[in-house]
């Protein structure tokens, strides 16, 4: 059978199956009903909101400037291109547990193969978050760094199912800590995927550019240039330490470190980045002004964020964001816990952390 005959079989087959559809379904009537219902609901909400404004107007002065006491989780604003992370030349460094890898600065963030029960799946294995942390309106159109974290339910089985789009990569990628055995996979379109282990952590690079693969794999190294611990045995304690070390040029610093529970019960570093020290200060000030957290969560945390800031040789402050406890709880040290608020998250919720924390799924995502 030649190509034209195959196409004809396809056309005929589709036409036949299209004829099997029940076109008498009262779709138009259902649409009218649904549109009417939505309009009533929407206008009902407008009426309710208007009523609330009238009531709240009398007490607005009393609540203005004070902390927002809401049961809703804080809504974090979307970053813009202005929030692009600092990069060294045209490369930036990505961290996973104990390793660091340099990748092109304009790559986005996505998923990578992870174990899920008895199988391995990759959830959203393409760039869906940009380098500045914004959600991409056209995912999959740039290279990406993938982490084995389930941030969406759009998943593909790995190794890829035959004829799936993933069998023909169109963008280069790096996977950190993916459930992939060391080795080489050659795709039909010239892409080559190479996996090596660095300090026991799998690092995978795929590209049709051998030079780029070599450069990225060559940059994989133990991460010694971050203040984020690669692994924590216990949930960290918040607080400030005074360091008495002579530093001839003391400088403020701040790092944001995200952690996820690992199979051995520890917490592995899933994301690390430097942040502007003044942004960290603003976040912590906002949290200090937030309402006290009175909920005592009795559960095993799956993920959390540590914000480390201070002045070299002088102070070291640890603030812990427990994102899974009561819409977010922030531990400031000295036994003080506050409800997490948007202004306490916004300053550091930039770049790839939005693809590394489940907290940013849904309303935050």
């Amino acid at each position: 059978m030649d190509e034209r005959e195959i196409e004809q079989v396809l056309r005929t087959g589709l036409e036949r199956h299209a004829a099997e559809a029940d076109v008498t379904a009262p779709v138009a009537a259902r649409v009218r009903t649904e549109v009417g219902r939505r309009r009533r609901t929407r206008w009902g909400s407008v009426a309710a909101a208007a009523a609330v404004v009238l009531v709240a107007g009398g007490v607005a002065v009393a609540t203005q400037g004070g902390p927002r006491d809401s049961k809703e989780p804080p809504v974090v604003t979307d970053p813009t291109a202005d929030d692009a992370p600092p990069v060294d030349g045209d490369r930036r460094t990505e961290y996973w547990q104990g390793i660091a890898v340099d990748i092109p600065a304009d790559w986005g963030y996505g998923g990578a193969p992870a174990e899920s029960g008895s199988e391995v799946v990759a959830c959203f294995p393409e760039a869906y978050v940009g380098p500045d942390g914004s959600h991409l309106s056209r995912p999959g159109e740039r290279g990406w760094v993938g982490r084995p974290i389930t941030m969406t339910d759009v998943c593909a089985r790995y190794p890829w199912i035959e004829n799936s789009p993933q069998e023909e990569p169109t963008q280069p990628y790096v996977w950190l800590g993916a459930a992939v055995e060391p080795g080489v996979v050659e795709y039909a379109n010239g892409y080559v995927q190479e996996t090596v282990e660095v300090d026991g952590v799998p690092v995978t690079v795929a590209s049709d550019d051998a030079g780029l693969r070599e450069e990225i794999l060559g940059s994989a190294r133990p991460s010694e240039d971050t203040l984020c611990e690669p692994s924590l045995r216990w949930f960290p304690r918040a607080g400030t330490s005074v360091i008495d070390v002579e530093d001839p040029s003391p400088e403020p610093y701040a790092w944001v470190c995200a952690y996820r529970r690992t199979d051995d019960g520890r917490f592995g570093l899933s994301y690390a980045a430097q942040v502007d020290p003044s942004a960290a200060e603003a976040a912590i000030e906002a949290q200090q002004a937030a309402p006290d957290q009175r909920v005592d969560c009795d559960y095993e945390p799956v993920e959390f964020v540590v914000l480390k800031d201070g002045v070299s040789g002088s102070t070291d402050r640890v603030t812990v964001y427990e994102t899974g406890c009561a819409d977010g709880t922030v531990h400031l040290g000295g036994g003080v816990s506050k409800q997490m608020v948007a202004a306490g998250v916004d300053p550091w919720a930039r770049s790839g952390i939005r693809a590394a924390l489940s907290y940013f799924i849904g309303p935050q995502g």
């Binding site: 589709l14 199956h17 779709v27 549109v35 206008w43 056209r138 004829n163």
Partner: protein, 174 residues
């Protein structure tokens, strides 16, 4: 104090009703091919049409409202698929039509349906748009919001998969 809120008319946008009456059957057939089931087709078409109705003033000014709504049907189905958390395409469901067509034709058409139901949603939409709606690659790329090479790749792979299905089917017969 009274709150001045007016209930809007429940009637749908002018012109929408007539358009839907004229196009519903074709859209349901398209939805059936894209989703692979009657229920999913009705859900996707209804979702798309509700959305189209709510912005009908803009949609109706579109050069080709049909294309716009077909794109919404594909997106509605992909969104529903994502919400359901399913990770695999549904298993091919081949209807028993033996006796209504010559055996070879039936085998070929069943092979088409088996191949289609195994394709990821976007790829299946590309195939339906190309070989059922007879659209050009550029038009399909615009509807699916992907590049033209991606559409060509989807279609090329689907044809290769169908060729394998047909060969397997013939080998099974012999």
């Amino acid at each position: 104090m009274d709150v001045g809120v007016t209930e809007p008319s429940a009637a749908v946008e002018p012109g929408f009703d007539a358009w839907v009456e004229a196009r519903a059957a074709a859209l349901l057939r398209f939805g059936y091919l894209v989703t692979g089931s009657q229920q999913a087709a009705e859900d996707a078409v209804q979702t798309a049409l509700v959305s189209a109705c709510e912005k009908w003033a803009r949609v109706s000014r579109h050069d080709d409202p049909d294309a716009y709504v077909r794109r919404m049907i594909v997106n509605a189905h992909i969104s529903a698929w994502r919400r359901s958390g399913r990770r695999e395409s549904p298993v091919a469901e081949v209807r028993d039509t033996a006796g209504t067509d010559p055996a070879q034709t039936v085998a070929q058409q069943d092979a088409v349906w088996r191949m289609c139901t195994r394709l990821p949603t976007q790829q299946r939409a590309a195939v339906v748009l190309r070989f059922y709606e007879d659209l050009e690659y550029g038009e399909i790329a615009a509807i699916l919001d992907v590049t033209e090479p991606t559409v060509r790749s989807h279609v090329h792979r689907a044809l290769a998969a169908l060729r394998r299905e047909l060969e397997a089917s013939r080998e099974g017969e012999s």
